[in-house]
Point group: C2
Chain length 348, copies 2
Amino acid sequence: MDAINPSVELTETERVDRLRLIRSDNVGPRTFRSLVDHFGTARAALERLPDLARRGGASRSGRICSADEANAELAASRKFGIAWLAPGEDGYPALIAIVGSRNASGAGLKFAGQLARELGEAGFIIISGLARGVDQAAHRASVESGTVAVLAGGHDCIYPPEHGDLLAAILDRNGAAISEMPLGHEPRARDFPRRNRLISGASLGVVVVEAAHRSGSLITARMAAEQGREVFAVPGSPLDPRAAGTNDLIKQGATLVTEAADVINAVAPIMERPAMHPAGEPDSEPFESDPQSHDRGQITGLLGPAPISIDDLVRMSGASPAIVRTVLLELELAGRLERHGGGLVSLL
Amino acid sequence: MDAINPSVELTETERVDRLRLIRSDNVGPRTFRSLVDHFGTARAALERLPDLARRGGASRSGRICSADEANAELAASRKFGIAWLAPGEDGYPALIAIVGSRNASGAGLKFAGQLARELGEAGFIIISGLARGVDQAAHRASVESGTVAVLAGGHDCIYPPEHGDLLAAILDRNGAAISEMPLGHEPRARDFPRRNRLISGASLGVVVVEAAHRSGSLITARMAAEQGREVFAVPGSPLDPRAAGTNDLIKQGATLVTEAADVINAVAPIMERPAMHPAGEPDSEPFESDPQSHDRGQITGLLGPAPISIDDLVRMSGASPAIVRTVLLELELAGRLERHGGGLVSLL
């Protein structure tokens, strides 16, 4: 795993600061990442939070998580054996999703297993949905190397029920089960697409192995693209309806996969780039592009309740992309911005 | 066919001039096209030939075909029912090559036939090598719409012999057989790759349906790319060795094909661009970039018996691409230049 996971070392202070930042008002995962990228450290971001929110038009200052609260949470977590990991830290898994048809062909199942095994040997953790077909084959082949099942229902409502044994084997080795649903929640049809965004979002990329037109796996692929994840697809004969979706993905620009190396080569450059900068090394002068109140007014004026793309905002405002991003960050911290998929934003 | 073949109308004079040009010393198909593109008409090119060859260092003027000779050839051709067609003229066929494994799978054969039929219905003429497997399936499905077999041996040495009936059916309808070999020439192993360059060169693009690693069809695809033709490939399962070559082609940038529309959409823009300009409309000022003797000396000095790419020549000489092209054309007309595949040239 070390070879594929260049580690970032966090000091205990920076760890506490990062927990404070993500627990503060209006700071979601995306804003968190923007702030740390911009300011270099969570501490620097925390110090600027009130000012940024005020410029974004916050009527009152959002709550900032205190060091005491953060330390208490870390201590309580440790008591339960919970490890707190930031992306890029040692032990933060390099996840690759493998998804596909529930009624896959024998060749599809065999290939899914082969790919999961080879990616597992290369140090990747396989994430999938515990469904019949491709999901099952991918999990089963990576039980020993480590695999993560994302559930559509609560942790005690395994679907399909006959996969209880597989999940037990996953948890017995190096694996995990993830759910955002409360205990006792039986999965309904609409929970599956919702669950799929967690699979794609948690992973570096999504490999689709066999998918018919308009199948659930294509929704996962679309979400992956919207989330900025790599999309991979396994080709098949034009006469095989189970390859129609994957062939279409390739036509649309997905990376064609016939062997593990195709996946590894494509994600290697992403993994060499630390998920966030080590403390104290901002990627650019922090907010070297301070928006003028003129910019702020104009960009905010272009926003409304209907989602608009950030690219359009840049074009229509005439401001630089850096200025537009900064104004959006301010609005976000003021709790006035909503981000949608595909680079779309709207005013709340 | 009209819909997909925007026609160029040649006057009888321009037809005679074009025949004179292609029959003159040191003018091959590539030089012919460069000259007509540069000067707008074959007549203008003919007038400049002696001067260009002299600048290229020809010791004595190459022979230029006279109008009498050209007229005599056209008259003799007509007597034998031979039609003389320039690319882009009405009736000049829009050829698409379909090639692939001799031992193709049932699915591969079925798809080859289906694609040939649909492209035939769309007005394309299918060109292939009369081999077993994919070639045979493609020819058979396009007998009615029109198909061209390119032979590795002479016209009387059909290989494989059992395809004599298929060839008879092709010729009986709208088809043709092409060979560059003399009558009585039995095809040897090395004649097949040589024949393949005619298939790719005659076509707008080459569709490879099933090909193993290192198979003959991949040679055809490589030649097509070198000749500036479109390369298409039909995907297949990673577990099917007969799809290994086609999947690799797609990884290298070939267009993925699952239906006729994929081919038609890709070649449509090429077909809208006439193969050569109608008489009197050069694409740029004729030789607006007249090389100075300094350029000529420098570029010629960089050339030797070892092939070098034209891109490298441009970079190393510091001259503009137009200047380099002009100097190369002059050398070619002087009989001093050899062109290889892939944009490579050497001095003779």
